[in-house]
């Protein structure tokens, strides 16, 4: 269905072919109603989508007394103090850096490891590649909760538990199926003639990969980076069971700590939540074009 449905023709008015000026201005009543209803419904869901965020922002700008009296979305005495205090006194900057470190290293490793693997699976011929490729895709079906406990026990043995590498390695491994799938697809669509030509000129595989294939796949690399960064930034379960030392805390765990503190102040909790959410929203808006198109591309191919 497209915009056609809302044209006068759709509601039974005579279709004059080219839209004469008159037919545009004198929309029939039912058309106006239909458009109005569509608009209202779309805005209503926008409100539902935004609802908890609006209250999150609202509470983050209220002081302790006002958040208890609640009741109103726009703060009567808006204050930045809640946000600055949460940021400063609760050491949110340290947690922010930890989150940035874990997310950044995870994204970097995912891009390096799985672009290489994708290159091998899509253009290099070697025995066993089909079986290996299938093995990675089969991993899609192993539930996170099933391997959560063994991962923790293993890391405990290896002495990785409690540190940031204990998060990064399982996170990277967790994105393997999707990243390999997307990378392999992207590289398969690059014409093989390019590679042949480079080989004739004596370029090594590593050189072909870094100077031809990677630059040509930039949109997919960005899509994978965003698809990895967002869940990693928000990750909570493994982080919760593996981190003990407050120095290593990432933002979600710091937030969890706020909530379980003796006296719960919703303005502080929402200020913390806002600090966690804002970077993701900025990343999403910045990479929106690639992210959404990348998703749609994944569906269509």
């Amino acid at each position: 269905m497209s915009t056609d449905t809302l044209r006068p023709a759709a509601t039974g008015a005579p279709d004059t072919g080219r839209p004469a000026r008159g037919s545009r201005v004198h929309l029939s009543l039912s058309t106006v109603l239909a458009r109005g209803t569509v608009g209202v419904l779309l805005l209503l869901y926008a409100a539902i989508s935004l609802y908890p965020f609006l209250w999150m922002v609202s509470a983050a700008f209220k002081d302790e007394i006002e958040v208890v009296s609640g009741g109103h979305l726009i703060p009567h005495r808006p204050t930045l103090r809640t946000l600055t205090e949460t940021w400063n006194e609760l050491h949110f900057f340290d947690y922010f850096l930890n989150s940035l470190k874990v997310t950044g290293l995870t994204v970097l490793l995912v891009l390096v490891i799985y672009s290489a693997a994708g290159y091998a699976f899509s253009v290099l011929h070697f025995p066993g590649r089909k079986a290996l490729y299938r093995l990675f895709l089969a991993l899609l079906f192993v539930p996170g909760v099933t391997v959560l406990l063994p991962v923790v026990l293993l890391e405990n043995k290896l002495g990785l538990l409690g540190g940031h590498w204990g998060l990064i390695l399982p996170f990277v491994n967790g994105t393997a199926p999707l990243s390999i799938l997307l990378m392999t697809n992207a590289f398969s669509s690059i014409p093989g003639e390019l590679r042949e030509a480079a080989r004739v000129d004596g370029a090594s595989e590593l050189r072909i990969f870094t100077t031809i294939y990677l630059p040509l796949s930039r949109p997919v690399l960005i899509t994978i980076a965003v698809l990895t960064a967002i869940p990693t930034w928000n990750e909570y379960l493994l982080t919760r069971v593996s981190l003990n030392d407050p120095e290593a805390y990432t933002l979600p765990i710091a937030l969890q700590n706020l909530q379980s503190s003796a006296v719960l102040h919703y303005n502080v909790l929402m200020a913390g939540a806002l600090i966690v959410v804002v970077p993701v929203i900025i990343l999403f808006i910045a990479a929106q074009r690639y992210f959404v198109n990348g998703l749609i591309g994944a569906v269509k191919s």
Partner: protein, 321 residues
Amino acid sequence: MAISTIAKGPSPTRRAPSRGRSRYRRSETAWGYAFVLPAIALFAVMGVYTIVYGFSLSFASWNGFTPEWRWVGLKNYADLLWADPQYAPLVHQAALNTMWVMIAVPVLTVLVSFPLAVLLNSVRRLKTVLRSVYFLPHVTSGIAVYFAWVYVLQPDGAINLLLRSLGLGSLQQPQGFLGNPTTALPTLIVITVWTSVPVAMLLYLASLQAVDPSLIEAARVDGASTWQVTRRIVWPLLRPITAIVVLLALRDSLQGFQTFLIMTNGGPGNHTNVLGLQTYRLAFLSQLSPTLGLSSALGWMLFVGALVLAAINVRVLRRVT
């Protein structure tokens, strides 16, 4: 909702090897292994080892501290399903709650996201902005947003306030929506739907844009109304997407529990305990009781459930496409 299972790309061997290539070139083989080595190495440790380890643990009794495992064979599975008077009832209730989630979430997700995509596809202005706004719940899905929900759902929170101002005061929940045993599970279901609508909506939107406009034009010429076109042409054409949306939602309902852990931790009572959460509790919240094997066994039963769903997925998709 995970988007991981959506893409169905070409197989890596799409390019048929030319005739002279039937034997592998040595240098290419070496490069091939070199390129996949990091992925394989990581997978061998974090993947294969943990899977094998977890699977064997499901046949043992262990509390995580004693040096030795005690092998119990299939006892863990039997205990969870019927034998143990302490754990079997817990698992039964969790299974019942999970079943409600698995019924309600897919149905509601389709009921919300399909009309939403059709409506969004019919407007020209603000389309991109609205698409981003609708997508926000997926992007931010995590502890921060769940706490925001807890905040608006509490007894003197914004939802109760909204109901009062709309004249629906009788629907207010004085104990908060998560404190009342009858409303807690439905509330969590609604929030799960809220987070799963974005991807479903995007999937529908992407395939709506691929629908051949001449089909709809032809129906229009025959005098079909908007409703008839949507119901008789668009909906059947998008059935494969509906199958994907439903099965993704089913899988996430079966295994996902993060919302439940953060927002209610299974309470009040055990009214929002689900199988994923029960697995987590047996693994990490039972102190010195020897429940790690039980947790592992429950995890593997969930895995089998996921496999069955995946098999159905393949069959259904083959039938509807």
